[in-house]
Symmetry: C2
Subunit: 202 residues, 2 copies
């Protein structure tokens, strides 16, 4: 009962943030209440707007408050390359390497034991997207984890009948790690050293 009900509610609400335990939530709440109310109000308003208005790009499935995202709308990018990643954070990581192609964001990986199947991560949309004119190579940049590898393998099978080069980013990225934690240089190297999985028969 040391804090008033509304202050306690704020401390509890802050714990939805990843990595924020009781002590950190207390410090955050008191910092905003005692030292930065305008910043706290700004955060509340932006958070509410973002939660209500940010959806998914119709074309690549990344987070976007517009129907299509800036990368998809940018006519300067290379339509022949389509890079498949597991999350919007991975788009951010790969953009740092200077990659200029297109993206498709899966939002997760296949996980049959958890009931997460191809439809749940948007694979039907990917199949359609990969058949659009201009696409020549699909780069599988899922995480170098067991689940990411299995997802890449499944996608490769699904796309194997299409006249596309399928490639996987090179294992310059450390096995068992998460793509977004890899430094830009390593990631650029892995991207440059991608190797074909399946080439068109012709």
């Amino acid at each position: 009962m040391s804090f008033s009900p509304l202050v306690r509610q704020l401390m509890d609400a802050l714990r939805v943030l990843p990595g924020v335990g009781q002590k950190t939530a207390q410090r955050m709440a008191l910092h905003l209440l005692e030292r930065n109310r305008p910043g706290g109000i700004q955060l509340a308003q932006t958070l509410l707007q973002a939660m209500e208005r940010v959806g998914y790009c119709q074309r690549c499935q990344t987070l976007s408050e517009e129907p299509t995202c800036a990368q998809c709308r940018n006519a300067q990018r290379d339509d022949s390359l389509l890079c498949i990643v597991q999350s919007p954070m991975d788009v951010f990581a790969i953009e740092q390497t200077g990659y200029q192609g297109r993206y498709f964001v899966l939002h997760g990986h296949l996980s049959p034991l958890d009931g997460i199947g191809p439809e749940d991560i948007g694979l039907p949309q990917l199949l359609t997207r990969a058949q659009e004119p201009g696409v020549r190579e699909v780069i599988l940049a899922t995480n170098p984890t067991v689940e990411g590898e299995a997802t890449a393998h499944y996608i490769a099978q699904q796309l194997s009948t299409l006249p596309l080069v399928l490639s996987r980013i090179a294992h310059g990225v450390p096995l068992g790690g998460e793509l977004e934690l890899v430094d830009g240089g390593t990631l650029a190297h892995a991207l440059a050293g991608r190797r074909p999985l399946i080439s068109p028969a012709n």
Copy 2:
């Protein structure tokens, strides 16, 4: 340009939280957007309410959305003890020791070089509060830092003409530290071992 404008605004807004840098803000924003929108909306609404409605208790100056806080309204507590602390977090810390008296929260310490004088931390209100019927002992529990000691010393001088026992929490608390980081056992010991600074002449 990897994230949409509203997603970037959210990442920027999250950096008002203490200890949250760019990478952590990105993870927090994507976590809420991808995995917990109800939690994000709840946080936004609670944050806005708290920033707009939480004020200060008229009696002890701690954070409270009511005119007087629960500790001040609780008729069971011991009116004879008045414990002076620097922040609402210190009230939380001292409550863990089982202390049953009253509090007065300064919101900082005297800092003449920064232009923070007695009025800025509520010392006139403290002088009034300390003269209310029933108060017999004022416990100075400011931080065991140079500034906290100087503030305690100044308050002791101001209250020295009143018929009160003035005490300082014992230096079981480590010098140079912050009160809220001290474990409950040490703090309970320090509170029990408090020593008189000035006793009434009678």
